[in-house]
Protein backbone atom coordinates (compact mmCIF):
# COMPACT_ATOMS: atom_id res chain seq x y z
CA UNK A 1 0.00 0.00 0.00
CA UNK A 2 2.70 2.47 0.93
CA UNK A 3 4.65 2.45 -2.35
CA UNK A 4 1.47 2.57 -4.31
CA UNK A 5 0.18 5.60 -2.44
CA UNK A 6 3.50 7.34 -3.03
CA UNK A 7 3.14 6.54 -6.73
CA UNK A 8 -0.34 8.05 -6.93
CA UNK A 9 0.94 11.19 -5.21
CA UNK A 10 3.51 11.62 -8.02
CA UNK A 11 0.99 11.43 -10.85
CA UNK A 12 0.60 15.22 -11.18
CA UNK A 13 4.35 15.49 -11.78
CA UNK A 14 4.25 12.78 -14.40
CA UNK A 15 1.37 14.53 -16.16
CA UNK A 16 3.04 17.91 -16.17
CA UNK A 17 6.31 16.54 -17.46
CA UNK A 18 4.68 14.32 -20.11
CA UNK A 19 2.67 17.25 -21.43
CA UNK A 20 5.56 19.63 -21.66
CA UNK A 21 7.78 16.96 -23.17
CA UNK A 22 5.42 15.70 -25.88
CA UNK A 23 3.52 18.99 -26.31
CA UNK A 24 0.45 16.90 -27.08
CA UNK A 25 -2.30 16.18 -24.53
CA UNK A 26 -3.34 12.85 -26.01
CA UNK A 27 0.19 11.56 -26.35
CA UNK A 28 0.95 12.72 -22.80
CA UNK A 29 -2.12 10.95 -21.40
CA UNK A 30 -1.14 7.74 -23.18
CA UNK A 31 2.38 8.02 -21.87
CA UNK A 32 1.27 8.58 -18.27
CA UNK A 33 -1.17 5.70 -18.55
CA UNK A 34 1.52 3.32 -19.85
CA UNK A 35 3.96 4.54 -17.22
CA UNK A 36 1.43 4.01 -14.43
CA UNK A 37 0.61 0.50 -15.63
CA UNK A 38 4.25 -0.48 -16.00
CA UNK A 39 5.31 1.07 -12.70
CA UNK A 40 2.46 -0.64 -10.83
CA UNK A 41 3.53 -3.95 -12.33
CA UNK A 42 7.09 -3.41 -11.16
CA UNK A 43 6.44 -1.75 -7.87
CA UNK A 44 8.20 -4.50 -5.97
CA UNK A 45 11.40 -3.55 -7.82
CA UNK A 46 11.27 -0.01 -6.50
CA UNK A 47 13.58 0.39 -3.53
CA UNK A 48 11.81 2.02 -0.64
CA UNK A 49 13.58 5.15 0.48
CA UNK A 50 14.93 6.05 -2.96
CA UNK A 51 13.44 8.80 -5.08
CA UNK A 52 10.02 7.67 -6.35
CA UNK A 53 9.66 10.60 -8.73
CA UNK A 54 13.02 9.97 -10.38
CA UNK A 55 12.20 6.28 -10.70
CA UNK A 56 8.86 7.06 -12.39
CA UNK A 57 10.54 9.52 -14.76
CA UNK A 58 13.02 6.78 -15.68
CA UNK A 59 10.20 4.33 -16.42
CA UNK A 60 8.48 7.03 -18.46
CA UNK A 61 11.58 7.82 -20.46
CA UNK A 62 12.16 4.23 -21.39
CA UNK A 63 8.59 4.00 -22.68
CA UNK A 64 8.88 7.31 -24.48
CA UNK A 65 12.04 6.15 -26.23
CA UNK A 66 10.26 2.98 -27.37
CA UNK A 67 7.31 5.00 -28.64
CA UNK A 68 9.59 7.24 -30.66
CA UNK A 69 11.26 4.23 -32.19
CA UNK A 70 8.00 2.50 -33.07
CA UNK A 71 6.15 5.36 -34.63
CA UNK A 72 6.98 8.80 -35.80
CA UNK A 73 4.08 10.40 -33.99
CA UNK A 74 4.38 14.08 -34.67
CA UNK A 75 3.19 16.59 -32.17
CA UNK A 76 0.26 18.26 -33.82
CA UNK A 77 -1.23 21.55 -32.68
CA UNK A 78 -3.59 20.20 -30.05
CA UNK A 79 -5.65 21.33 -27.08
CA UNK A 80 -2.41 21.84 -25.24
CA UNK A 81 -1.25 24.65 -27.50
CA UNK A 82 -4.60 26.31 -27.05
CA UNK A 83 -4.47 25.84 -23.31
CA UNK A 84 -1.04 27.44 -23.11
CA UNK A 85 -2.10 30.28 -25.38
CA UNK A 86 -5.13 30.99 -23.19
CA UNK A 87 -2.97 31.04 -20.16
CA UNK A 88 -0.48 33.42 -21.74
CA UNK A 89 -3.29 35.67 -22.95
CA UNK A 90 -4.47 36.03 -19.35
CA UNK A 91 -1.16 37.58 -18.28
CA UNK A 92 -1.55 41.33 -17.77
CA UNK A 93 1.85 42.57 -18.74
CA UNK A 94 2.42 42.75 -22.50
CA UNK A 95 6.19 42.31 -22.27
CA UNK A 96 5.72 39.26 -20.11
CA UNK A 97 3.20 37.86 -22.60
CA UNK A 98 5.68 38.28 -25.42
CA UNK A 99 8.45 36.66 -23.40
CA UNK A 100 6.25 33.68 -22.51
CA UNK A 101 5.22 33.17 -26.12
CA UNK A 102 8.81 33.39 -27.29
CA UNK A 103 9.95 30.98 -24.62
CA UNK A 104 7.25 28.46 -25.49
CA UNK A 105 8.08 28.67 -29.17
CA UNK A 106 11.79 28.33 -28.48
CA UNK A 107 11.08 25.31 -26.25
CA UNK A 108 9.16 23.67 -29.10
CA UNK A 109 12.09 24.27 -31.42
CA UNK A 110 14.73 22.85 -29.10
CA UNK A 111 16.08 19.41 -29.97
CA UNK A 112 14.21 17.02 -27.71
CA UNK A 113 17.36 15.92 -25.88
CA UNK A 114 17.86 19.51 -24.74
CA UNK A 115 14.19 20.06 -23.91
CA UNK A 116 14.21 17.01 -21.64
CA UNK A 117 17.10 18.37 -19.61
CA UNK A 118 15.62 21.86 -19.30
CA UNK A 119 12.27 20.45 -18.13
CA UNK A 120 13.62 17.86 -15.71
CA UNK A 121 15.89 20.38 -14.04
CA UNK A 122 14.04 23.66 -14.48
CA UNK A 123 10.44 22.52 -14.08
CA UNK A 124 10.60 19.25 -12.15
CA UNK A 125 13.51 20.22 -9.89
CA UNK A 126 15.48 17.08 -10.51
CA UNK A 127 19.15 17.18 -9.49
CA UNK A 128 21.84 16.90 -12.19
CA UNK A 129 22.63 13.44 -10.88
CA UNK A 130 19.01 12.25 -10.99
CA UNK A 131 18.58 13.74 -14.46
CA UNK A 132 21.64 11.84 -15.66
CA UNK A 133 20.30 8.55 -14.35
CA UNK A 134 16.77 9.16 -15.68
CA UNK A 135 18.11 9.81 -19.17
CA UNK A 136 20.93 7.26 -18.95
CA UNK A 137 23.63 9.77 -19.86
CA UNK A 138 26.71 11.11 -18.01
CA UNK A 139 26.31 14.11 -15.72
CA UNK A 140 28.74 16.08 -17.92
CA UNK A 141 26.40 15.61 -20.87
CA UNK A 142 23.46 16.81 -18.78
CA UNK A 143 25.35 19.98 -17.92
CA UNK A 144 26.49 20.74 -21.43
CA UNK A 145 23.00 20.16 -22.89
CA UNK A 146 21.51 22.37 -20.21
CA UNK A 147 24.00 25.18 -20.84
CA UNK A 148 23.39 25.09 -24.59
CA UNK A 149 19.62 24.97 -24.22
CA UNK A 150 19.36 27.81 -21.70
CA UNK A 151 21.52 30.08 -23.79
CA UNK A 152 19.42 29.33 -26.84
CA UNK A 153 16.22 30.07 -24.94
CA UNK A 154 17.65 33.30 -23.56
CA UNK A 155 18.60 34.53 -27.02
CA UNK A 156 15.18 33.63 -28.38
CA UNK A 157 13.44 35.63 -25.65
CA UNK A 158 15.78 38.60 -25.51
CA UNK A 159 16.15 38.83 -29.26
CA UNK A 160 12.50 39.76 -29.54
CA UNK A 161 12.79 42.57 -27.07
CA UNK A 162 15.48 44.41 -28.94
CA UNK A 163 14.43 47.21 -31.21
CA UNK A 164 14.01 46.15 -34.79
CA UNK A 165 17.08 47.32 -36.65
CA UNK A 166 16.33 45.76 -39.97
CA UNK A 167 15.78 48.50 -42.49
CA UNK A 168 12.89 48.34 -44.88
CA UNK A 169 14.01 49.17 -48.37
Amino acid sequence: MDKRTALVAELPHLMRYARSLTRDTDAANDLVQDTTARALGRLQLFQAGTNMRAWLFTVMHNLHRQNLRQSSRRASPSQLTEEIENRVAAVDDATQRLALRDLDRAMSELPEEQRQVVLLIGLEDMSYQDTASILGIPVGTVMSRLARARERLRRAVEGQNRPQLRSVT
Binding site: M1, D2, R4, T5, A6, V8, A9, E10, L11, P12, H13, M15, R16, R19, S20, N29, D30, V32, Q33, T36, A37, L40, G41, A48, G49, T50, N51, E83, I84, R87, V88, V91, A99, L100, L103, D104, M107, V118, L119, I121, G122, L123, D125, S127, Y128, M143, S144, L146, A147, R150, E151, L153, R154, V157, E158
Partner: protein, 261 residues
Protein backbone atom coordinates in the same frame (compact mmCIF):
# COMPACT_ATOMS: atom_id res chain seq x y z
CA UNK B 1 45.76 33.17 -5.84
CA UNK B 2 44.70 34.32 -9.25
CA UNK B 3 41.16 35.02 -10.22
CA UNK B 4 39.85 32.85 -13.06
CA UNK B 5 39.55 34.50 -16.45
CA UNK B 6 35.90 33.73 -16.83
CA UNK B 7 33.04 31.89 -15.24
CA UNK B 8 32.24 28.60 -16.96
CA UNK B 9 28.74 27.98 -18.29
CA UNK B 10 28.60 24.91 -16.10
CA UNK B 11 29.28 26.88 -12.91
CA UNK B 12 26.81 29.53 -13.89
CA UNK B 13 24.05 26.99 -14.43
CA UNK B 14 24.96 25.03 -11.32
CA UNK B 15 24.58 28.28 -9.41
CA UNK B 16 21.09 28.84 -10.84
CA UNK B 17 20.04 25.28 -9.99
CA UNK B 18 21.38 25.23 -6.45
CA UNK B 19 23.92 22.50 -7.21
CA UNK B 20 26.89 24.22 -5.52
CA UNK B 21 28.28 23.83 -2.03
CA UNK B 22 28.54 26.81 0.29
CA UNK B 23 32.08 27.77 -0.63
CA UNK B 24 31.51 27.60 -4.40
CA UNK B 25 28.35 29.58 -3.89
CA UNK B 26 30.21 32.35 -2.11
CA UNK B 27 32.90 32.49 -4.82
CA UNK B 28 30.35 32.81 -7.57
CA UNK B 29 28.42 35.49 -5.75
CA UNK B 30 31.60 37.52 -5.46
CA UNK B 31 32.25 37.05 -9.15
CA UNK B 32 28.72 38.05 -10.13
CA UNK B 33 28.95 41.25 -8.12
CA UNK B 34 31.76 42.37 -10.43
CA UNK B 35 30.48 40.94 -13.72
CA UNK B 36 27.11 42.37 -14.66
CA UNK B 37 26.91 40.43 -17.93
CA UNK B 38 27.13 37.11 -16.12
CA UNK B 39 24.73 38.40 -13.48
CA UNK B 40 22.27 39.23 -16.25
CA UNK B 41 22.53 35.69 -17.57
CA UNK B 42 21.91 34.29 -14.10
CA UNK B 43 18.85 36.50 -13.88
CA UNK B 44 17.61 35.36 -17.30
CA UNK B 45 18.07 31.68 -16.41
CA UNK B 46 16.27 32.07 -13.11
CA UNK B 47 13.46 33.82 -14.94
CA UNK B 48 13.31 30.89 -17.38
CA UNK B 49 12.70 28.54 -14.46
CA UNK B 50 9.79 30.67 -13.28
CA UNK B 51 8.36 31.06 -16.76
CA UNK B 52 8.42 27.30 -17.34
CA UNK B 53 6.05 27.01 -14.39
CA UNK B 54 3.81 29.74 -15.76
CA UNK B 55 3.63 27.96 -19.09
CA UNK B 56 3.46 24.31 -18.10
CA UNK B 57 2.07 23.89 -14.59
CA UNK B 58 -1.08 21.81 -14.68
CA UNK B 59 -4.27 23.85 -14.43
CA UNK B 60 -5.99 23.53 -11.08
CA UNK B 61 -8.15 20.45 -10.72
CA UNK B 62 -6.92 18.81 -13.89
CA UNK B 63 -8.72 15.48 -13.86
CA UNK B 64 -6.76 12.28 -13.89
CA UNK B 65 -7.03 10.92 -17.47
CA UNK B 66 -9.52 8.08 -17.83
CA UNK B 67 -6.82 5.69 -18.98
CA UNK B 68 -4.72 6.35 -15.90
CA UNK B 69 -7.71 5.79 -13.63
CA UNK B 70 -8.28 2.54 -15.42
CA UNK B 71 -4.68 1.47 -14.98
CA UNK B 72 -5.07 2.07 -11.25
CA UNK B 73 -8.42 0.25 -11.11
CA UNK B 74 -7.08 -2.71 -13.03
CA UNK B 75 -4.42 -3.30 -10.48
CA UNK B 76 -6.98 -3.65 -7.75
CA UNK B 77 -7.60 -0.39 -5.94
CA UNK B 78 -10.83 1.29 -5.27
CA UNK B 79 -12.04 3.64 -7.95
CA UNK B 80 -10.48 7.04 -7.48
CA UNK B 81 -12.53 10.14 -7.79
CA UNK B 82 -11.37 12.51 -10.50
CA UNK B 83 -9.42 15.61 -9.59
CA UNK B 84 -6.22 15.99 -7.68
CA UNK B 85 -7.89 17.50 -4.71
CA UNK B 86 -10.12 14.52 -4.17
CA UNK B 87 -7.15 12.24 -4.60
CA UNK B 88 -5.20 14.18 -2.05
CA UNK B 89 -8.18 14.01 0.28
CA UNK B 90 -8.49 10.28 -0.23
CA UNK B 91 -4.79 9.83 0.39
CA UNK B 92 -5.05 11.86 3.52
CA UNK B 93 -7.75 9.57 4.87
CA UNK B 94 -5.66 6.54 4.10
CA UNK B 95 -2.50 8.06 5.48
CA UNK B 96 -3.83 9.60 8.63
CA UNK B 97 -6.84 7.44 9.34
CA UNK B 98 -5.20 4.12 8.56
CA UNK B 99 -3.06 2.40 11.11
CA UNK B 100 -0.02 2.67 8.88
CA UNK B 101 0.67 5.30 6.31
CA UNK B 102 3.45 5.71 3.79
CA UNK B 103 6.64 5.24 5.68
CA UNK B 104 5.25 3.90 8.89
CA UNK B 105 7.16 0.65 8.68
CA UNK B 106 10.44 2.57 8.67
CA UNK B 107 9.42 4.67 11.61
CA UNK B 108 8.22 1.76 13.63
CA UNK B 109 11.42 -0.17 13.17
CA UNK B 110 13.48 2.81 14.22
CA UNK B 111 11.55 3.72 17.30
CA UNK B 112 8.88 1.65 18.95
CA UNK B 113 5.31 2.77 18.71
CA UNK B 114 5.37 5.58 21.20
CA UNK B 115 2.83 8.43 21.12
CA UNK B 116 5.69 10.58 19.79
CA UNK B 117 6.57 8.26 16.93
CA UNK B 118 2.92 7.99 15.94
CA UNK B 119 2.53 11.75 16.05
CA UNK B 120 5.60 12.40 13.92
CA UNK B 121 4.54 9.66 11.55
CA UNK B 122 1.25 11.44 10.92
CA UNK B 123 3.12 14.69 10.42
CA UNK B 124 5.38 13.08 7.81
CA UNK B 125 2.38 11.56 6.08
CA UNK B 126 0.74 14.96 5.89
CA UNK B 127 3.94 16.39 4.43
CA UNK B 128 4.10 13.59 1.88
CA UNK B 129 0.54 14.15 0.76
CA UNK B 130 0.41 17.92 0.61
CA UNK B 131 3.94 19.16 0.01
CA UNK B 132 3.97 17.41 -3.38
CA UNK B 133 0.56 18.67 -4.40
CA UNK B 134 1.34 21.13 -7.15
CA UNK B 135 -2.17 22.46 -7.61
CA UNK B 136 -3.42 23.03 -4.09
CA UNK B 137 -0.86 22.41 -1.38
CA UNK B 138 -2.60 24.71 1.09
CA UNK B 139 -6.24 25.29 1.89
CA UNK B 140 -5.79 28.97 2.60
CA UNK B 141 -2.93 30.83 1.00
CA UNK B 142 -0.96 33.55 2.65
CA UNK B 143 -2.51 36.10 0.29
CA UNK B 144 -6.01 35.03 1.11
CA UNK B 145 -8.15 37.69 2.68
CA UNK B 146 -9.20 35.36 5.45
CA UNK B 147 -7.22 35.59 8.64
CA UNK B 148 -6.11 32.01 8.30
CA UNK B 149 -3.92 31.95 11.40
CA UNK B 150 -6.93 33.06 13.41
CA UNK B 151 -9.10 30.53 11.63
CA UNK B 152 -6.70 27.67 12.34
CA UNK B 153 -6.26 28.82 15.93
CA UNK B 154 -10.03 28.77 16.42
CA UNK B 155 -10.21 25.23 15.10
CA UNK B 156 -7.39 24.07 17.33
CA UNK B 157 -8.75 25.89 20.36
CA UNK B 158 -5.30 27.30 20.98
CA UNK B 159 -3.58 30.38 19.58
CA UNK B 160 -0.90 29.37 17.07
CA UNK B 161 1.73 31.51 15.38
CA UNK B 162 3.46 31.18 12.06
CA UNK B 163 7.18 31.75 12.62
CA UNK B 164 9.05 33.79 10.04
CA UNK B 165 11.49 31.41 8.35
CA UNK B 166 12.97 33.90 5.91
CA UNK B 167 16.33 33.82 7.76
CA UNK B 168 16.47 30.16 6.69
CA UNK B 169 15.38 31.03 3.13
CA UNK B 170 11.80 29.80 3.40
CA UNK B 171 8.66 31.84 2.74
CA UNK B 172 5.25 31.08 4.18
CA UNK B 173 2.74 29.89 1.58
CA UNK B 174 -0.24 29.07 3.78
CA UNK B 175 -1.88 26.39 5.82
CA UNK B 176 -4.59 23.81 6.07
CA UNK B 177 -6.51 21.95 8.67
CA UNK B 178 -5.78 18.23 8.92
CA UNK B 179 -7.18 15.38 10.95
CA UNK B 180 -4.93 14.16 13.73
CA UNK B 181 -6.68 11.08 15.05
CA UNK B 182 -10.02 12.83 15.18
CA UNK B 183 -8.53 16.04 16.59
CA UNK B 184 -7.78 19.10 14.48
CA UNK B 185 -4.18 19.88 13.61
CA UNK B 186 -2.74 22.70 11.51
CA UNK B 187 -0.31 22.07 8.67
CA UNK B 188 1.68 25.22 7.91
CA UNK B 189 3.68 25.15 4.70
CA UNK B 190 6.81 27.03 3.64
CA UNK B 191 8.68 27.08 0.37
CA UNK B 192 12.19 28.13 -0.66
CA UNK B 193 13.41 29.68 -3.94
CA UNK B 194 13.80 26.35 -5.65
CA UNK B 195 10.34 25.11 -4.67
CA UNK B 196 11.57 22.94 -1.79
CA UNK B 197 8.94 22.71 0.92
CA UNK B 198 8.86 22.14 4.65
CA UNK B 199 5.78 21.77 6.80
CA UNK B 200 5.16 22.57 10.43
CA UNK B 201 2.49 20.33 11.90
CA UNK B 202 0.92 21.79 15.03
CA UNK B 203 -1.70 20.45 17.40
CA UNK B 204 -2.89 21.30 20.88
CA UNK B 205 -0.48 19.95 23.49
CA UNK B 206 -1.40 16.44 24.55
CA UNK B 207 1.09 16.04 27.36
CA UNK B 208 2.43 12.96 25.59
CA UNK B 209 5.55 14.69 24.28
CA UNK B 210 8.34 16.35 26.20
CA UNK B 211 10.27 19.49 25.36
CA UNK B 212 13.34 17.69 23.97
CA UNK B 213 13.88 17.89 20.22
CA UNK B 214 13.72 14.45 18.66
CA UNK B 215 14.69 13.63 15.14
CA UNK B 216 13.33 10.97 12.85
CA UNK B 217 15.44 10.11 9.84
CA UNK B 218 13.68 8.37 7.01
CA UNK B 219 16.38 8.45 4.36
CA UNK B 220 14.98 11.22 2.18
CA UNK B 221 12.46 12.63 4.60
CA UNK B 222 13.39 13.95 7.99
CA UNK B 223 11.31 15.28 10.83
CA UNK B 224 11.94 16.90 14.19
CA UNK B 225 9.26 16.94 16.87
CA UNK B 226 8.88 18.54 20.26
CA UNK B 227 6.37 20.18 22.53
CA UNK B 228 6.25 23.39 24.50
CA UNK B 229 3.38 22.15 26.60
CA UNK B 230 0.66 24.27 25.01
CA UNK B 231 1.36 22.97 21.53
CA UNK B 232 2.99 19.89 19.99
CA UNK B 233 5.12 20.54 16.91
CA UNK B 234 6.56 18.42 14.13
CA UNK B 235 8.72 19.92 11.39
CA UNK B 236 9.05 17.75 8.28
CA UNK B 237 11.00 18.17 5.09
CA UNK B 238 12.78 16.31 2.34
CA UNK B 239 16.27 17.44 3.21
CA UNK B 240 19.34 16.54 5.21
CA UNK B 241 19.02 16.36 8.96
CA UNK B 242 21.39 19.27 9.63
CA UNK B 243 19.51 21.52 7.20
CA UNK B 244 16.28 20.71 8.97
CA UNK B 245 17.91 21.46 12.32
CA UNK B 246 18.83 24.93 11.11
CA UNK B 247 15.19 25.57 10.25
CA UNK B 248 14.10 24.20 13.62
CA UNK B 249 16.41 26.66 15.35
CA UNK B 250 14.98 29.49 13.28
CA UNK B 251 11.50 28.47 14.42
CA UNK B 252 12.50 28.44 18.09
CA UNK B 253 14.17 31.83 17.78
CA UNK B 254 11.15 33.33 16.03
CA UNK B 255 8.70 31.95 18.57
CA UNK B 256 10.82 33.07 21.52
CA UNK B 257 11.35 36.53 20.06
CA UNK B 258 7.62 36.99 19.70
CA UNK B 259 6.82 35.57 23.09
CA UNK B 260 9.14 38.10 24.73
CA UNK B 261 7.75 41.16 22.97
Amino acid sequence: MTEPEQLSDTDLNAYVDGELDTQELAEIELWLADHPQDAARVHAYKLQRLQLHLLYDLPKDTPLPAGVRQALDNSGVRRWLPGWRQIAAALMLVAVGGAGGFWSSDVVTQSQRTPGSQFVNRAINAYAVYAYDSSRPVEIGVNDETDYVGWLSDRLGQQIRTPDLSPAGFALIGGRLVNDQGEPAALIMYENDSGGRVTLYVRRGTGNLDTAFRTIDQKHKNAIYWSNGALDYALAGEMKENELKIIRKTISQALEARAST
